[in-house]
Symmetry: D3
Subunit: 70 residues, 6 copies
């Protein structure tokens, strides 16, 4: 399985919040740090995610913003 995206990190689901239409999944990255994904409830059901599940976090580089502080 290969993905056309520069950013790929592995983590474990730490929490899932559900709205009526959308859901938010918080992931503890194996490398350290946290990531969050917002998806539809429909997609959440397709993924059959539950706390502790291992997931791949994928982000295309064009959607990454860099900020230089100070």
């Amino acid at each position: 399985m290969r993905y056309g995206a520069r950013n790929q990190l592995i983590g474990k689901v730490r929490g899932i919040k559900k709205g009526k239409l959308m859901s938010q999944v918080d992931v503890m990255l194996d490398a350290g740090g946290l990531a969050s994904s917002v998806m539809t409830i429909d997609s959440l059901k397709d993924l059959k995610l539950k706390k502790g599940d291992s997931v791949r976090v994928v982000v295309k580089a064009v959607n990454v913003l860099l900020v230089k502080e100070g």
Copy 2:
């Protein structure tokens, strides 16, 4: 300074590649792992980035895709 995005990681610039219009900045995350950002050359100049600079990596949660493998 506060950002309206769930995903924020700190890292150091490891490499910069330049095309005619676009550039790609690879960042070694302090927590471990790599991130990449694609931006215009114009934005790269605004950031005045160079290798070793500390940057904040910002991604809105809606642009994070989760994949469940296996």
Copy 3:
């Protein structure tokens, strides 16, 4: 503070709507015109936004669609 994004406009928060998970912030741009941002309630809390607050509206150029009408 420098951002790796071509589109940056300054404005003031005109209204905030909250769902269970997501929120919508409407901004009156200083240059004229309106902008809207959708973010998680979690991010809204981080920003501690209230009506009248000054904010920077940031959009990467890859996420801007141009339409030529007529």
Copy 4:
């Protein structure tokens, strides 16, 4: 013609830069301020854009990041 996006501003093309694959179009907004869009050269050709053309700038609210400074 109606678009499913919260952010819609009208402007005039001020400049076009072309790379091999991608292009960058800078737009002077009628309300004031500048906007930039990155698209493929293929899409630029479809639009048949030239300097001075009137365009609609469309951005979905989920792709708008708010930053609160100071």
Copy 5:
């Protein structure tokens, strides 16, 4: 009417789900297959969409992820 995006498919609205803030519109593509769009309730109202309406589905190529399986 010309759009600065590589991906444009025509379809008919098959269903609309509404949350408090966000909505999800499922579209049956004329070419076959399904597409879904998430937008604000405000944008849904602007579109005045109802089941059976013909819509153009527009996606910028930078937001398309390719996966090679197997």
Copy 6:
């Protein structure tokens, strides 16, 4: 393998264009119609794509814009 995205279509690579940093992959969808993805050359190499390869086209619903014409 499960993806947290509403839009998933299967197709075959019809053509690949390469810039210095970015690449554009055009895909003929099995259901009919065309899709295009822009990714970094680095990601293209990871995918090891060549003409005729079968790929999954994945787009999150938040990045889908609907337009109602006429």
